[in-house]
């Protein structure tokens, strides 16, 4: 799925009235309220997820033991996992342990959840960071460079980006794999090395999945960049800057881009969310031992401990990301920092 599924690039970014935050105390109050809200949200999500994930004890038993499991085995399984208790008790039990740092074991009872989830989280984060590190600057550079020109390059790029954005991930993934791994043999076909290999192998293993993800990220960021830079290039202050004799790159990067950066921050935040939580296809194609695959398997199996740990972790990431984006946006848009008047 393309990253652009997440949020429309056409979204008017100015649809929120500017928030005015007054003073440090008020800001702290707002922050703590936001955090409380976020915690509540995560709690709610975990609650809903728990019940959504609910399967009958027998089905869970068959999922783990295989379909030939006998009645006695199924009952023993249910008893050993506490599946014979009322759901709400199971949930509260999970919550009670979770908040105290005990994430429980997977459904099969063979793995503690923490060492299962944390490395996957690390790998997914690494992949996300690596992807952002190369794709965002490229997208921004291309977006800004072309926004100022218009003309054939812009149009050509537009078509390229539109097509890239329209290609399903699985197509991109297989294509880069066949080209760069099978034909040219520059990179490994499977990226298991992310979890298992030496540092050098790890680096190589990140290339193809990151490239595939980037093909989704670049058009999205490019689009936002282009739109907002175009808008700010036609703003009076840009003309004023030109008329002060400032050089082109300074006008573009300092005046136009700086002012256009707010929607961009939101776009990047959205992309991080996507990269953290939605890269299941790429993880599958390249055998990346990441969160998405783990979550998918957990959901399919009804492994609620693992699934909930991941969901809560992702929720926390999104909350932190949201707060961070707010801070960055506030930094970039001084209007939000409160008014002296």
């Amino acid at each position: 799925m393309s990253v652009s599924t997440l949020v429309s690039v056409a979204e008017p970014q100015a649809d929120e009235p500017p928030r005015t935050v007054r003073g440090r105390a008020a800001r702290a109050r707002a922050l703590s309220r936001q955090l409380a809200m976020a915690l509540l949200t995560i709690l709610l999500i975990s609650f809903i997820s728990f019940f959504a994930l609910n399967h009958s004890a027998d089905q869970l038993g068959k999922n783990v033991l295989g379909r030939q499991a006998s009645r006695a085995q199924l009952d023993a399984f249910a008893a050993s996992r506490g599946l014979d208790r009322p759901l709400i008790v199971q949930y509260l039990d999970w919550l009670w342990h979770f908040v105290r740092g005990d994430w429980g074991t997977n459904l099969a009872g063979t793995q503690p959840v923490k060492p299962l989830v944390l490395p996957a989280f690390a790998h997914t984060s690494e992949l996300a960071v690596i992807t952002l590190v190369w794709s965002v600057p490229i997208a921004i550079a291309v977006g800004v460079a072309v926004a100022r020109r218009g003309g054939p390059i812009d149009r050509g790029l537009f078509v390229v980006m539109t097509v890239l954005a329209a290609l399903p991930e699985f197509v991109v993934g297989l294509t880069v794999m066949i080209a760069l791994a099978v034909q040219l043999r520059w990179f490994p076909v499977a990226s298991n090395a992310i979890g298992l290999g030496t540092p050098a192998e790890q680096v190589k293993a990140f290339v193809l999945p990151s490239l595939t993800l980037g093909v989704g990220v670049v058009p999205y960021i490019w689009r936002i960049t282009r739109a907002s830079v175009l808008e700010s290039l036609s703003a009076p202050y840009t003309r004023a800057a030109v008329l002060r004799g400032l050089r082109r790159h300074r006008v573009i990067w300092r005046h136009a881009f700086r002012s256009a950066a707010v929607p961009l921050v939101n776009a990047i935040a959205i992309n991080i969310i996507y990269l953290m939580g939605g890269v299941i296809i790429v993880e599958n194609v390249f055998a990346v031992p990441g969160l998405g695959r783990l979550l998918l398997a957990a959901i399919a199996q009804g492994d609620s401990h693992t699934a909930l740990a991941i969901i809560v972790l992702l929720g926390a990431v999104f909350v932190i990301l949201g707060l961070l984006a707010d801070v960055v946006v506030t930094y970039l848009n001084p209007r939000l920092r409160g008014s002296a008047r």
Partner: protein, 298 residues
């Protein structure tokens, strides 16, 4: 300038001209025209495809399994010996109809809530905004998985899933668009006249948020196409023996080197549809925002 403004540029224009003029936002750029062409082509395929298909899409052994194009089979056969061309011609419905239906549903729910929230304002608006924010932070695929894990997979569930994913996104856009309109003096004037709320919503607000909302919807349908194709690809939507493009891609990707056309054909179908819709949406947005940089001299 507004769409109407452009459309109504003369008093004497006939209805026919006005009728065609609504395409102007799409056709004013060559990219929009390409988009329109692609989408029209795909629509023809989707609407008339089943009638044009040389074989029933599920007929087995039209040729030997996995034969390449030739012998009257334009695109060859898939792993069950079914005609790839026939499956291409019949497999586009879900990829197009589900997003359209889902976007419609999402607009009727999320869009309406967003509009009402912005119009009513106050606590209700704050709560709605918050709920949208929360829903927007969840990765769509995650939502899809949760819904499907809970309700199993069927076309209806798929449709609901896509609608659930899109509702807050559309709601956010309509809320923003409405918030921009609701303070406009013409709305105030209507209030001062004592117009009923519903009249204000229908007469004053709705026509004015159409432009941004509609161009957003066009884009949303585009994403819907990819999203549905992805869900079908993951086996979460359409089920065999459906000739759905997403499902066909998933099923034929494995033997891409043996019979590439079996996967390429639906890939091209999905891509053409999504690229076409994307170009149209963009053309419309350009039309509405008038984004030219004539005044920069950089």
């Amino acid at each position: 300038m507004s769409v109407d403004g452009m459309m109504q540029a003369g008093d004497a224009r006939s209805r026919v001209v006005r009728g065609l003029a609504f395409l102007r936002p799409v056709t004013h750029t060559w990219m929009g025209r390409i988009g329109l062409f692609l989408v029209t082509l795909m629509l023809v395929v989707i609407v008339f495809g089943p009638a044009l298909a040389p074989h029933p899409p599920n007929q087995l052994n039209v040729g030997l399994p996995l034969t390449r194009p030739g012998n009257g089979l334009v695109l060859g056969t898939d792993n069950l010996g079914r005609d790839v061309l026939s499956r291409l011609l019949t497999g586009g419905r879900m990829v197009l109809l589900v997003p359209i239906a889902a976007v419609t549903l999402a607009t009727l729910t999320g869009g309406l809530v967003g509009m009402v929230a912005a119009y009513v304002g106050g606590l209700f608006d704050a709560i709605v905004a918050r709920v949208f924010d929360i829903l927007l932070t969840l990765p769509p695929l995650l939502i899809a998985l949760a819904v499907i894990a809970g309700f199993g997979s069927s076309v209806l569930v798929l449709l609901l899933t896509v609608a659930v994913v899109f509702a807050p996104q559309i709601g956010r856009v309509t809320r923003g668009a409405t918030a921009a309109v609701v303070t406009a003096d013409y709305v105030q004037a209507a209030r001062a006249r004592g117009e009923r709320r519903i009249t204000i919503a229908v007469r004053e607000i709705a026509p004015n948020i159409m432009a941004p909302v509609v161009s957003d919807l066009a884009l949303r349908v585009t994403y819907g196409v990819i999203f549905v194709a992805s869900l079908n690809f993951l086996g979460l939507g359409a089920q065999p023996p459906s000739s759905d493009w997403g499902l066909s891609i998933a099923n034929s990707l494995g033997y891409v080197q043996v019979q590439p056309f079996a996967s390429l054909a639906p890939v091209v179908g999905v891509a053409a549809l999504s690229v076409g819709l994307n170009l149209i949406a963009d053309s419309m947005m350009r039309y509405l925002s008038n984004d030219s940089v004539k005044d920069s001299m950089l």
